[in-house]
């Protein structure tokens, strides 16, 4: 066995554990992954969008078409944020299952990467269903809309990596509420999901540029509207930014979980 296949096989066992625990709730989870985009796109895209004119700021498309890919990216962020916080300290502190894993041939690195692989799989499921709903609603303009799935997974992983690294340094979930309140929710509202950031003051626009969700929304929107070819430089910047965050986050998660499991 090469080092790579051995690594995949051991982190796969961590993945298998997460799958086993997910099986307890998968019905409710899949149901809400489907219902949530239907409700949001109906209420905000169709309902509220009926009062919004197809202005140039929206790229000349109906509001529903503008909104859908933004919501997709934002949903990926929310799913990733949840999965990278509570389950991580759960395994480290509440049921200590990660400690049980570390007593077997599974290395702390496998625990970290196995969990991130699981989050990626969850994101694939959630964004896949969401994209299907977008297609059913006709809320897209280009067949590249299917690439919204990997783009949204990438967006989610840009959050999952750094957040899982942070979670592995915590001893209780107290700070998670602050993260959701002061990071995730503002990003959800002001990263171009519901309206173009060009309507924000210049200083806030600059700030938005620094946030991962802005890049995630912009990338998925390019793919849903088929405008990636018009501005390939922007596309590359978005991808590089998100990939960098995801990789740095995964590296830090490995380090923090290692420190936690191989403490003295």
């Amino acid at each position: 066995m090469t080092a790579l296949t051995r690594e995949v096989s051991t982190l796969g066992r961590v993945f298998e554990y997460r799958l086993l625990t997910y099986r307890r709730t998968y019905r409710a989870s899949l149901f809400s992954s489907f219902v949530s985009p239907v409700l949001f796109l109906t209420a905000m895209g169709v309902g509220l969008g009926g009062y919004v004119s197809n202005g140039a700021a929206l790229g000349g498309v109906p509001y529903l078409v503008f909104l859908a890919p933004g919501l997709l990216a934002a949903t990926a962020m929310q799913t990733a944020s949840f999965e990278a916080t509570f389950p991580i300290i759960g395994g480290l502190i509440w049921n200590k299952v990660f400690h049980a894993m570390a007593a077997t041939p599974i290395a702390p690195r496998d625990v970290a990467l196995g969990n991130l692989a699981w989050i990626a799989a969850r994101l694939f499921l959630v964004t896949g269903i969401f994209t299907l709903v977008i297609i059913v609603f006709g809320a897209y303009q280009s067949p590249t809309v299917v690439l919204c799935i990997p783009a949204a997974v990438l967006t989610g992983m840009a959050f999952a990596g750094p957040l899982a690294a942070f979670s592995a340094t915590q001893h209780n979930p107290n700070r998670f509420a602050s993260i959701f309140r002061f990071v995730i929710t503002p990003l959800f509202l002001f990263s171009g999901t519901f309206f173009p950031i060009s309507s924000l003051p210049a200083s806030i626009q600059a700030l938005a540029w620094l946030t991962p969700l802005f890049h995630g929304v912009a990338l998925t929107r390019q793919l849903a509207l088929g405008t990636a070819t018009q501005d390939p430089v922007a596309t590359v910047i978005h991808v590089v930014y998100l990939v960098t965050l995801a990789i740095v986050g995964a590296y830090l998660t490995t380090r923090t979980i290692e420190r936690r499991l191989i403490r003295g």
Binding site: N95, V97, A100, A103, T104, P105, A107, I262
Partner: protein, 312 residues
């Protein structure tokens, strides 16, 4: 595994664990032979758990040498862990999964096939007397049942060495005896047991050989019987006096026993003939409220070595 059959399964020399400025384990030496049942006896904070974590390859050693099954924990941690069974001090079960799921997923961590895991899980459920509860969630199980499940889980990879950190702490006497019975069976099957405990009766029941740890160091080593012979007398006479009397005793017990130990709640007379000591106390006109003659235990060894009780 490369070691010769006679080489110790676990070999430690000058083994040290430091956390910043705090020394948890201070240059300890010990060897554990194949098939042996070896114990670390000592109070909380003596360094037992830190030692176990180093053997379990989940805590790097700070100094000294340590080999487990002839391998180096630093470079061959995963290979060593593949042959270890670990029962941690606190249960690390997923209480939302069923008893059987906890066993089978743990087997999968070792890379065992699903078919193999299923077969072993059935055997271990039987061993742990949990077959009736196999498909129940773990959450509502009693402490003793959870502990038995943890032990069953640690056996799923058919380990060469079983590491048990305080296996019965917090259990009621009946659950403890049931657990000791299971561990005794494993010992008879030739599994090498390494355990920590602060219960002297547990150490006496299960250990062929043990080391007494105190303040990060090993203070004595031997079989329970040899330790008692060396550090204590054959019998002990325990006297309880009415409150205040003990302070007024000074000198009155001199010469009755080899050694007199005053504890807050009682006085211990160490003598090979405990009855004779009790009679002598009476002859001197002393009237203790209760008199108990018993055999020496590891508790007495610990008291002698450290001047303190095991459980404080």
């Amino acid at each position: 595994m490369s070691e010769s059959p006679s080489a110790p399964l676990i070999h430690a020399r000058g083994l040290t664990k430091r956390f910043a400025s705090f020394v948890a384990v201070d240059a300890v030496d010990f060897d554990v032979a194949r098939g042996e049942s070896f114990g670390f006896l000592g109070p909380n904070g003596a360094g037992k758990t830190s030692t176990m974590r180093m053997i379990g390859c989940v805590s790097p050693i700070s100094d000294g040498t340590l080999t487990v099954m002839g391998m180096d924990p630093k470079t061959q941690g995963a290979e060593i862990r593949a042959h270890l069974g670990v029962v941690p001090q606190q249960d690390t079960l997923d209480v939302e999964l069923t008893v059987r799921e906890n066993l089978s997923i743990y087997g999968r961590y070792f890379g065992l096939s699903r078919a193999e895991v299923r077969k072993r899980a059935d055997e271990l459920l039987d061993f742990a007397q949990l077959t009736d509860r196999a498909d129940d969630q773990v959450e509502p199980l009693s402490g003793g049942m959870k502990r038995r499940l943890t032990i069953a889980r640690s056996l799923i990879n058919e380990p060469t060495v079983l590491l048990l950190d305080e296996p019965t702490t917090g259990l009621d006497p009946q659950a403890r005896h049931l657990l000791w019975d299971r561990l005794y069976r494993l010992k008879q099957q030739g599994v090498t047991l390494v355990l920590t405990t602060h219960y002297m009766d547990e150490a006496e029941q299960l250990c062929d050989r043990l080391v007494v740890m105190d303040k990060a160091r090993i203070v004595a080593e031997g079989s329970p019987r040899a330790l008692i012979e060396r550090y204590s007398t054959r019998e002990v006479t325990e006297l309880r006096f009415a409150p205040g009397v003990v302070d007024a005793l000074d000198g009155q017990l001199d010469g009755i026993a080899d050694r007199v130990e005053r504890l807050p709640d009682r006085v211990l007379l160490y003598a090979d003939d405990g009855e004779a000591a009790a009679v002598a106390v009476h002859q001197r006109g002393l009237r203790p409220e209760t008199v108990l003659v018993r055999r020496s235990s590891l508790e007495d060894v610990f008291l002698r070595l450290t001047g303190r009780s095991l459980i404080e």
